[in-house]
């Protein structure tokens, strides 16, 4: 599959389905977009058929953007792409809770934070909200 020999991928997860995602500004010279339709992962997250269809509808927005949708297990698909082209680079918006260390050729890019909170997250919301309130409203509140 010649078209899978891409050198520079942007890999989007199910929760990054924006055709105007900020990552396209950071990786402006990307060649293709990758979406891995990982049914095992979707099952592990308890996605319904309605939700899968919602995702499917979102993918339709990528017409004309050289999107490749590959059905398979994430690890296996990434390894197969790497095997096809060891020069390949894969850039992806970083997802919390996702372990990218297994793939040296994948570069997760940090995402904007809504509220910047560098301390340990408190047990209850309202301590967090005090900081959020300051950032959102400053002295106005």
């Amino acid at each position: 599959m010649k078209s899978l020999d891409t050198n520079k991928w942007v890999w989007l997860h199910y929760n990054q389905l924006n055709p105007n995602h900020d990552i396209f500004n950071h990786v402006a010279d990307y060649e293709a977009i990758l979406f891995i339709w990982d049914e095992s992962y979707f099952d592990s997250q308890f996605f319904s058929k309605q939700r899968l269809y919602f995702i499917w509808q979102c993918l339709s927005d990528f017409k004309g953007k050289n999107l490749h949708v590959i059905k398979g297990e994430t690890d296996e698909v990434l390894k197969a792409l790497y095997k096809k082209n060891p020069q390949a680079q894969v850039f992806t918006p970083s997802n919390p809770g996702f372990n990218y260390n297994r793939w040296q050729f994948v570069e997760p890019l940090k995402q904007n934070q809504f509220i910047v909170f560098d301390k340990s997250v408190p047990f209850g919301f309202f301590k967090f909200w005090k900081e959020a309130e300051k950032q959102l409203f400053g002295a106005r509140k």
């Binding site: 599959m1 899978l4 997860h13 199910y14 929760n15 990054q16 389905l17 924006n18 055709p19 105007n20 995602h21 308890f46 996605f47 319904s48 058929k49 309605q50 939700r51 899968l52 269809y53 919602f54 995702i55 499917w56 509808q57 979102c58 993918l59 339709s60 927005d61 990528f62 017409k63 953007k65 999107l67 490749h68 949708v69 590959i70 059905k71 398979g72 296996e76 698909v77 390894k79 197969a80 096809k84 918006p93 919390p96 809770g97 904007n112 809504f114 509220i115 909170f117 340990s120 997250v121 047990f123 209850g124 919301f125 967090f128 909200w129 959020a132 959102l136 409203f137 106005r140 509140k141």
Partner: protein, 277 residues
Amino acid sequence: MKFYEQTLNGAINPVKLIGKGSYERFKDWSLDDDDFTPSPLEGGFDEAQNRLANLDVQHYSKTRNYLSGGISMLSPYIEHGLVDPTEILKYIDSQQDRLQAYDFLQQLSWRDFYQKKYAESPDLIWENIQPYKTGFSHEAYSDQIPDDILKGETNVAVINEFIADLKLNGYLHNHARLYLASYIVHWRKIKWQVGAKWMLSYLIDGNLASNNYSWQWVASTGSSKAYIFNLDTVRKYSREGMNLSVEANFPLHGSYDALTKRLFPNASSAAKVAAHA
């Protein structure tokens, strides 16, 4: 757009999809012959932008607690990355003074709070943060959801309506989620983890962090008190057409004190309940 599937030997082969419309092509892609009803909330960037353009934060502030209130319905679009909280903030700033969006931004911050908690300890997302404060141990709660809940045929009419909504739309008003979670954990004595998985299996905006921490908040393993509600509260915030009679909702009928005694007979004090008045 190109479609492929990986075979067992690791090869990635192209797939030609059959079907004219999006629904037929999806069914062909998912190799599933069973029909289903898509959620009325459609996926896509334009849908997300329309929702954002219709965001009325003042109406939201005044009516969000009501089941027919002016909620944004943005959550499926936020969850799938079609619209970003920082973009929403920019939109709000372009429309009015940010302070008018205080309640809405607090709600967005709840989501951010839960995401950050999850990012900090992803391995603990299914663990009780603390013990239940209900007078019952973790083991006292069931590992299974009974059939009447699965089928939406409980002896509580409003609960059945919420279950039907969830199944039909893949979406529920936030308060209906809390009522349903509270009913499952406190009235039916089912582990929050079991209920959380069940709810996730229907929500199109299901977010593991928001969902699970909210269930823990209701259950009292993630808060200082158990969350309960009563029929009067549902009536206060109800929408038209709901069956709100005492006869059809008897398990929810009663004052908070009475329900607390009924649901938590072993709890050390009645103060261990967060009521939604």
